[in-house]
Structure formats: C-alpha cells, structure tokens
C-alpha cells in the first residue's frame, strides 16, 4: 500500500520536513483519540480500586490514594441481590451456560442458512432472507410478549432452552447475512466439484464449507459473544429464575436506587461483567479485521 511504499523509501533516505510533520500529525490524532476512547475505562478502573471514602470526594479522574481490591472482591463474592448476597459469581456461571450453546447454535444456523442461500437453489429463500433482515430492525420489545406466550404453550418458558432459542432467533439475521456474504465470495466451482465427487448437501457443508469458514466464524463468534453476553432484557424475561445471567445481577447491583451508591463496587462489577467480551476482543481482535477482510461484507 501507499504507506508501505512510503515507509520503504523512508528507511533509505531521511524523512522530508513535510513527512516528519505528517507523522507527528498522525500520531497526535491517534493519540488524542485513544485518550478519549480510554477515558471511560480509566474512570471505571480507578474508581473500582478506591474505597468509598475516596469515592465520596467526587474526584473521578484522580488515581486511588489507597489501592484497594475490596470493591472487586465484594462485587464478585458478596454484592447483594435482594436477600441473596453471593455477588456476580453465580451469574457468571449462568451467563456461561447461556452463552456457549447460544453462540454455537446461532453460528451454526447462520452458517447453514448462509450456505443453503448461496449455494442451493431454494425457491422463495431470498424473500425469507429479506424478511429476516428487515426483522432485525424491529425493537426486541415487540417480540417479547408473543414469545412468552409461545414458550408458555410449548412448556419451555423460563428455562435454558427458551433463552437459547431466543438468542438463536435474534442472532439469525446478522449471522445469516454474515455467512451468506462470505459464502458468495467463495468460488461456486468448489461446490460443483464436490457435487460431482458425490458429496451431498451435508457432506459439502461439513467437509468443505465449514472448514473454510474459520475467518468469518471468528467474526461471528466475536459479535455473538458480545451481543449475548451483554444481553439483559432477554435473559431477564426468558431465562428463568435459575439461569439469570450476570447482566441481571449487574443491573441489580448498579440500578438499586436506595441507599448510598457504592460506585466502586458498581464499577468493579461493570468491569467484571464486561471481562468476557473484552477478553475475546483482546485475544482475537486482529482476526476480527482479517475475518471481515476475508469477504464477510463483500455484499
């Protein structure tokens, strides 16, 4: 790219005056924006390491004078939801329980739909897909009541399957879009060759298409982990009492409006709750860009 060509030259000859200023400009721009983006995280972290006495001083940007992990311990082990004072740890387990099957199945369905849509001729499939895409613009709230009634009738209301199915339903538009676009970038000859080799629908999907989906699957995992882990509303409504996700507990801790607000515990709880998607981003951020570049959004 231009920049690479530029820097290749740069290594051979000294930078011109203009180029030096250009580099300074670039780093200043990126640096300032990085500060802006990091500000909230900074506030969350320093607050979570303060004691309540320090929080009451109201200096949210100052570093903690007495570094303390108490808020974190409290958020994890003993923050209360009503009479239940076991912190976020229970919700963490529940969130994982919801997350894993929801992510796996929503991605599998997305891949399957994308594959069937882009390689197989199914009459009316594109119309269905268009409806699905439009559906993704409708606020969740509209779906909740009928889904409650539906689950109630099938007898799975308030259970793990209910919340997993719900996540599959709401993840389907974007997941299908993602995989469909990725697959339309693959050569159709591959599919033809496999057909001649005698592979059927499932064999092609499992042996050829799925192994080629790694880049886009990473994008899908990142998006779904973020969406499902951060969900509060659906978890609260559908998961049932025994499976309430971590975000519901976070809400209970943060949104309790009586008594003094333990901002340090709130912030620790917030960071703790965001830890899973954050980790996923940190670990696989580079593949995210690569995955998208691999054709996820070629349209």
């Amino acid at each position: 790219m231009m920049s690479q060509a530029k820097s290749a030259n740069a290594s051979k000859r000294p930078l011109t005056y203009q180029e030096v200023w250009g580099r300074i400009g670039i780093y200043t721009f990126l640096g300032l924006l990085a500060l802006f983006f990091l500000l909230p995280l900074y506030v969350m972290l320093v607050t979570s390491f303060k004691s309540m006495d320090e929080v009451r001083l109201g200096l949210i940007f100052s570093l903690p004078q007495h570094f303390s992990l108490d808020a974190w311990v409290k958020a994890w082990t003993s923050a209360c939801t009503g009479l239940d004072c076991t912190g976020l740890q229970v919700g963490f387990g529940n969130s994982v329980k919801i997350l894993v099957p929801s992510v796996v199945f929503s991605i599998l369905f997305g891949a399957l739909n994308g594959y069937a849509l882009s390689f197989w001729k199914v009459k009316g499939a594109n119309v269905l897909f268009a409806c699905l895409l439009l559906g993704s613009f409708v606020p969740y709230q509209v779906f909740i009541y009928p889904l409650v009634r539906f689950y109630a009738q099938t007898g799975i209301y308030g259970s793990l399957p209910a919340i997993v199915i719900t996540h599959i339903i709401f993840g389907m538009p974007v997941m299908t879009l993602l995989f469909r676009n990725y697959y339309s970038g693959l050569p159709v000859e591959l599919f033809k060759a496999a057909r001649i080799d005698g592979a059927g629908f499932w064999k092609i999907f499992i042996s050829i298409v799925l192994p080629m989906s790694v880049p886009i699957a990473i994008v899908a995992v990142i998006m779904q982990v973020t969406a499902i882990w951060n969900d509060f509303l659906l978890g609260l409504v559908f998961a049932g009492r025994d499976n309430l996700p971590m975000t519901v507990q976070l809400n209970n801790i943060v949104n309790t409006t009586t008594g003094e607000r333990a901002y340090n515990v709130n912030m620790a709880a917030t960071v703790l709750t965001s830890l899973v998607p954050l980790t996923v981003y940190l670990v696989s951020g580079r593949w995210f860009v690569r995955g998208i570049a691999s054709g996820a959004v070629k349209g």
Binding site: M1, L33, P146, V188, L282
Partner: protein, 298 residues
C-alpha cells in the same frame, strides 16, 4: 411446470429441509409477531392483549402525543449525527491506522474495545463523566476554571449530543474495523497508479478508495442503523429520556408503554409506525445491496 417444480424440490430437498428452521423463525418469530403487533395496534389493549377493534384510535392518540413526536424528532437527529460522526471518525481512524503506524494493534484494540461493552455500560459511564457535579466540569472547577461549563446531560438543548457522544464512542470502532478491513483489500496497483498520476493522498481516498469500499460502508451503516432503531438501553442508563422529554426515543416510548404504562395498544401502534418507517427506509437499501445481483447458479 408442476412436474418440473416437484423435480426441482426433490433434487434440492435437503436444502429445503435445512432452511426449515429459518423459515419457521421468519414466519412465526418475525412475521408472526409483527402481524400480531399490527393487529393489536388496532385494539384497545392495555396491560394484556385484547382482540377488539377500535380502528385507528391508537394511531390518532399516538400522533397526538407530544412525547412520541419528540421521540421521532430525536431519533432523526440522533440518526443523522450518529451515522455521520461514527462514519467519519471510524473512517479517519482506519485511514490513519493504515499509515503503517507503530503499535497498530494497540490502537486498533483501544478503538474497538467499547464495542465489547454493553450499551448500558456506555450510558452509565458517560453519564458519570459528563455529570456536572462529578465529572469533567467538576474536575475543571477543582482546578480553578470555575467558568468551565460542560453540562450536556442536564441541558435540554445539548442532551442529545451527550447521547450521540456515548454511542459514537461505542460504535466508531466497528466502523474502523470494517473500513480498515476494506483498505487492506485495496489493490496496491491502484496506489501506484495514483502516485504516477500525482494525485494527492486525500483525493485518492475520497474519489477512488472510499467508493471502492462501498460494500463495507453499506454494511457498517446497516449495522449502525440497527442499533439506532433499537436504541434504548443507552438512553435509559444515561438520561432516562430527560431532562423532561428532551432525550426520549421511540424504542423507549414503546417499552414504557408496553410495560410501565400498561398500554399495549399504543405501544404496538408505535412499533407499527417504526416498522413501516424502517420498511420504507431500509427495504430499498437492503434490496439494492443484497438482492440486486441475480442469484448464482448451482
């Protein structure tokens, strides 16, 4: 024709079966609930659904409700600025990061991490930072700059921009990732050609590269638009619609009427209006972007 159709179905039977879950989801979960919600918008439902028919009463009430009209206006303002700023900022970030900078992955992570946080967190933390009693203004006053004013969250005139700030912080990284991915896919020969022609870099981006990234741009706009239409959590966490009704949004109006105010009829009328609006705005976009090209042979 009939025989041919059945032969076609038979040959592709497995594909039909495989798409069955999607068909069920679309027909029941999406179309079904939409139809149900449209139906209820013509009823007098309050806390629980009722299946009577009251004509367009709910719609008349809806468009006679100042808060709903405010919500729609706010959504338009948010949509415009959020899309514009998110897009410009995300694109600039991507272009700058693409200049072969050191610590590229660090910058990328910094700009992308807010997307991993929930909207609730985004709203809460920015509410806190912008709160005049606690955040930046308070700190500046502490330094002696007592004339410094940053009161967006408590100022009816500016509160929408506070919401936009928080959402831009949340979403700009996604645009950056998408555009960056697009830039990485641009043919190097294009850069060589423009250098030979002596075209300045900014011109190349504006006139040549960005038009090439059209699919990326559309996808990022579609993803951002989805979050605009559904915008709820961030507003609740940040301003709860206030001061007054200055930062109300349609999804919150629907939610409040659905649950807090036990007014399903009005809520479904509002969501029907949203649905039709989305349909009118998004259908052409979705069609031109994803369906214009004829399907491929298989």
């Amino acid at each position: 024709m009939g025989a041919e159709l059945s032969r076609h179905v038979k040959r592709n039977l497995v594909a039909y079966i495989a798409l069955l879950p999607m068909a069920i989801v679309v027909i029941f979960a999406y179309l079904g609930t939409m139809a149900w919600s449209v139906r209820l918008s013509f009823s007098s439902s309050k806390l629980l659904p009722r299946y009577d028919f009251v004509g367009a009463d709910q719609y008349l009430t809806l468009f006679d409700t100042p808060r709903w009209l405010t919500s729609l206006g706010n959504l338009a303002v948010i949509a415009f600025f959020f899309l514009l700023i998110c897009f410009l900022l995300g694109t600039l970030l991507a272009i700058f990061i693409d200049q072969n900078v050191r610590a590229e992955s660090l910058f990328r992570t910094v700009f992308l991490y807010p997307y991993a946080m929930s909207f609730v967190v985004a709203g809460l933390i920015w509410q806190w930072i912008l709160n005049p009693d606690l955040g930046i203004q308070h700190t500046m006053h502490g330094f002696g700059f007592t004339d410094f004013v940053l009161d967006w969250v408590v100022n009816s005139e500016m509160v929408l921009y506070a919401v936009i700030l928080a959402t831009v912080w949340h979403g700009a990284g996604l645009v950056m990732a998408l555009i960056l991915a697009g830039l990485r896919g641009v043919d190097t020969e294009i850069w060589r050609a423009t250098r030979i022609d002596g075209i300045p870099a900014w011109r190349v981006y504006v006139s040549i590269v960005l038009p090439m990234l059209r699919p990326m741009i559309i996808t990022s706009l579609v993803l951002l638009s989805i979050s605009i239409v559904k915008m709820y959590d961030v507003v609740v966490a940040m301003t709860n619609g206030g001061p007054g009704t200055a930062s109300e949004v349609p999804a919150k109006f629907i939610m409040d009427n659905l649950f807090e105010r036990a007014n399903i009829g009005l809520a479904t009328a509002a969501s029907t209006v949203m649905l039709v609006t989305v349909l009118l705005v998004m259908a052409p976009v979705i069609y031109s972007q994803y369906f214009r090209k004829s399907g491929r042979a298989s």
